[in-house]
Amino acid sequence: MTSVSYDLFALAIFAGLTVIVGAGLLALSELVGPRRRDPEKNTTYECGVPLFDSAREPFTVKFYLVAILFILFDIETVFLLPYAVVYKQLGVIGLVEMGIFLLVLAAGLLYCWRRGALEWD
């Protein structure tokens, strides 16, 4: 238990330092820095492209569909990476099992494609 509290103590010091340094820098720039406010300066990109509209617009539902598909196909790499580490030990059967796994994924992709889930319009 002593080692734990020691670790927690170190963590607390670290957290404390972070807060102090962060707040200190902010306060410093607030105190010392010059302040000249005008509308130009308050825009999002001070010397860039003018904004079209607010960033707080709701974005189209189509992104959600893409996000859903992305999550599904992305997370499956979670099984491919451990396999890559041990594929030699697993031999032919491991290869066949991974092949089946990828075929099922491909069937899913084929389904998405044929149902038109990959088209933007």
């Binding site: 030990q89 697993l90 099922v104 389904y111 149902r115 038109g116």
Partner: protein, 493 residues
């Protein structure tokens, strides 16, 4: 470490494999591109045929294979015993009936698509795996796969508001309960010496039985399963989901989810134990579930909601064998649970399939919609009557034998109060089970009701289910012996 797969392992996973493969085939066969959107009215008999072929094949693989008890396959992830095969066969039988009925029903509501069938089959494959699973990972993955497929089935008719609402409620509560289940699993894994296999947990159980983490772990897992089977106080989702989902899917989830979840819960409790405290807790849950389910069903006018509460009540009866098993009299009473599950499956499916025959464009789900059914469609009325009598537990039906076995076990195990409450609540239930029967035989039909289009599959499924209710009620001996044997295979190891 060369990876090897033995023939016994292939034999064990074959039924689930067939089901998953059929699901994939069904998904890809019905891919017509976008123009397919309006083809939901088509009966699509080929989908039904593929589905029936797949489920019959899986059923044959389940019934013929697995002569001996093999406990440790795939490094302890699953076993091959008569218990798992019995429960898996129940699930597959329900799948066959549902597939038969789905074509006619879905085309009548204009939603006949390949996705429905493949979701059924993915869920069924997961349920068969769940019945055979013997380690925490395979139990979790199987139960999640079946839950996810059922969530989508509940929200299948996306154009109806209650369907999406019910599905979302089901999803949130289901995922919530999965969290508890998983936390319980993590605790069990933690205290049982770094093993995920149920056999190791059983071996280590006595040494760590006093460990608070072990007790909490088992409790959390029981809570997770209680959600899945709909025991009070975790039942609130059931009426809403049953009311919203398309009725043929309701029949499927009422039957199959309960069978698979109870099989897994039984296997878990046989391994982990839990002792007197847990037994008292489950006894309390059983009492409340029986009473609340039956009392709440009394004044329902929507027949789907009525059957939902009746399903809750039946969960209460099914919990009694678990109580008996945990008190040390041994889990032999689990055989009553297996038989009861079989009886409950055919009966409940029959009831929901009758409602499915009545739907035209949308579900006719008020009890008044049954008025005068007997004069127009006497055979459908007979099946409905059989189902209601069996749910109520009237002699010569499957439900009677099941209740008899469970209450007899309760009396013999010294739990006379459980048997008494069970009998009292069964008597209460007769009142509401007879209401549809009265409506069918003694009331006049109004309007254009009951213009049944006679989808052949639904009627075949109804006939099979009705026949099974009678057969199990009149001559239950063979199935009783089989369930006793199955339970012995689980206990004997």
């Amino acid at each position: 470490m060369e990876l090897l797969i033995s023939p016994t392992e292939i034999e064990a996973i074959l039924p689930a494999g067939i089901l998953f493969l059929t699901g994939l085939v069904l998904l890809l066969v019905d891919l017509g591109g976008k123009e397919r959107a309006d083809s939901g009215m088509n009966p699509k008999n080929h989908l039904v045929f593929i589905g029936c072929a797949g489920s019959v094949l899986a059923l044959m693989a389940l019934v013929t294979g697995g002569g001996s008890v093999v406990t440790s396959l795939y490094a302890g992830a699953m076993s091959d015993d008569a218990f798992g095969r019995f429960a898996g066969a129940l699930v597959t039988l329900a799948l066959l009936l549902t597939t038969l009925g789905a074509g006619g029903y879905l085309s009548s509501i204009g939603q006949n698509r390949g996705e429905f069938y493949s979701l059924l089959f993915f869920g069924a494959g997961a349920m068969v795996l769940l019945c055979q699973a013997t380690n925490l990972v395979s139990i979790f993955v199987a139960i999640e796969t079946l839950s996810l497929s059922v969530f989508v089935l509940a929200g299948y008719t996306t154009d109806r508001r209650p369907s999406s609402e019910g599905a979302f409620k089901y999803f949130v509560l289901g995922a919530f309960s999965s969290g508890f289940l998983l936390l319980g699993m993590a605790f069990l894994y933690g205290v049982s010496g770094g093993s995920l296999a149920l056999s190791d947990i059983a071996a280590n159980g006595p040494q760590v039985a006093d460990d608070i983490l072990f007790a909490v772990g088992v409790l959390l897992m029981v809570i997770g399963f209680a959600f899945k089977v709909g025991a009070v106080p975790f039942h609130s989702w059931i009426p809403d989901v049953y009311q919203g989902a398309p009725v043929i899917a309701v029949g499927w989830m009422a039957v199959a989810v309960k069978v698979a979840s109870f099989a897994a819960l039984l296997r878990l409790l046989v391994a982990a134990g839990g002792g007197e405290t847990l037994s008292r807790l489950i006894a309390a849950i059983a009492v409340v579930t029986m009473l609340l389910g039956n009392l709440a069903a009394l004044n329902q006018t929507n027949i789907k909601r009525m059957l939902a509460y009746s399903g809750i009540a039946h969960t209460g009866y099914l919990l009694i064998p678990l109580v008996l098993g945990l008190t040390g009299t041994g889990f032999e009473s689990g055989s009553s649970m297996l038989f009861y599950l079989a009886a409950y499956s055919v009966t409940t499916f029959a009831a929901f399939a009758v409602i499915a025959t009545l739907s035209r464009g949308q579900d006719r789900e008020s009890i008044d919609d049954l008025n005068g059914l007997a004069s127009k469609h006497p055979m459908i009325a007979v099946v409905m009557t059989l189902a209601m009598l069996s749910l109520a537990g009237i002699p010569l039906t499957a439900g009677f034998v099941g209740k008899l076995m469970i209450f007899r076990d309760a009396v013999e195990g010294g739990y006379i109060y459980l048997a008494l409450i069970g009998i009292i609540s069964s008597v209460i239930s007769v009142y509401y089970y007879l209401r549809p029967v009265v409506a069918m035989y003694f009331r006049e039909a109004t309007g254009d009701q009951h213009e049944v289009e006679h989808p052949w599959g639904l009627h075949l499924a109804l006939a099979l289910a009705g026949g099974a209710i009678l057969l199990l009620g009149i001559d239950p001996q063979a199935l009783v012996e089989f369930s006793v044997e199955s339970m012995r295979s689980l206990l004997g190891g």
